[in-house]
């Protein structure tokens, strides 16, 4: 595995994850599915951090699976990876809900929003992945 490809996955994943976090704040403000309890500065910090973690994971998986599936379709591939990771987490959350429904209380609106955001993360990462302007930095 080339360092160049790993660096691409980490970097683009982090950037797209931060954008995903900011988009999450904006989308939630529009939909209103959850009333925020923090001020904007804390929201930006936590959403950017959380989003970056998710983004880097997706970016790394993009690097690892470079030639394994959907090699010429980065947007679709990143979306599949991002949504797949979110579904895995959501499945685990469903198990927690089954074991303790009062502690882990699900919400349909928030679930749909989360799915949409995971799709958005994939689109952002895939778009950055195939961007011609970044080929000089990361190579093809």
């Amino acid at each position: 595995m080339s360092l160049q490809l790993v660096f691409k996955g980490f970097s683009l994943g982090a950037v797209s994850g931060i954008l995903y976090g900011v988009a999450g704040i904006a989308l939630n403000q529009v939909t209103g599915v959850f009333p925020f309890e923090m001020n904007m500065a804390l929201l930006l910090t936590t959403f950017a951090t959380g989003g970056a973690i998710f983004g880097v994971i997706t970016g790394c998986l993009m690097s690892v699976t470079e030639n394994l599936f959907l090699p010429g379709r980065p947007v679709l591939k990143a979306s599949v990876i991002s949504v797949g990771f979110w579904l895995a987490l959501r499945f685990g959350a469903a198990l927690l809900t089954a074991s303790d429904p009062s502690r882990y209380h699900p919400d349909i609106g928030q679930t749909v929003q989360g799915f949409a955001l995971s799709l958005l993360l994939g689109v952002i990462l895939g778009s950055l992945w195939k961007a011609k302007a970044l080929e000089e930095v990361f190579g093809r």
């Binding site: 595995m1 080339s2 360092l3 160049q4 790993v6 660096f7 976090g21 999450g24 704040i25 989308l27 939630n28 599915v33 959850f34 925020f36 309890e37 923090m38 929201l43 936590t46 959403f47 951090t49 959380g50 989003g51 973690i53 998710f54 880097v56 994971i57 790394c60 998986l61 690892v64 990771f85 979110w86 987490l89 959501r90 685990g92 959350a93 469903a94 927690l96 809900t97 009062s102 502690r103 882990y104 209380h105 699900p106 919400d107 928030q110 679930t111 749909v112 929003q113 989360g114 799915f115 955001l117 995971s118 080929e135 000089e136 930095v137 990361f138 190579g139």
Partner: protein, 59 residues
């Protein structure tokens, strides 16, 4: 400044190191997504709004 990254003159990263990194990040994502205070104190409160926004269940 010479673009070393883009020229392909780079070393290889071992699969083991990459696997460890991805697993570590996945563990961090799980702690954040489920608000596991038992693992990292304060993870529940710090990422509470983020967790709700991405659709993870919470009380």
């Amino acid at each position: 400044m010479e673009n070393v990254i883009g020229q392909g003159k780079t070393s290889q990263v071992s699969w083991f190191a990459l696997t460890v990194a991805v697993i570590t990040l996945a563990f961090a994502a799980i702690v954040v997504a489920y608000g596991m205070d038992a693992i990292i104190m304060g993870a529940h409160d710090v990422f509470h709004d983020f967790r709700h926004a991405i659709g993870m269940p919470c009380h």
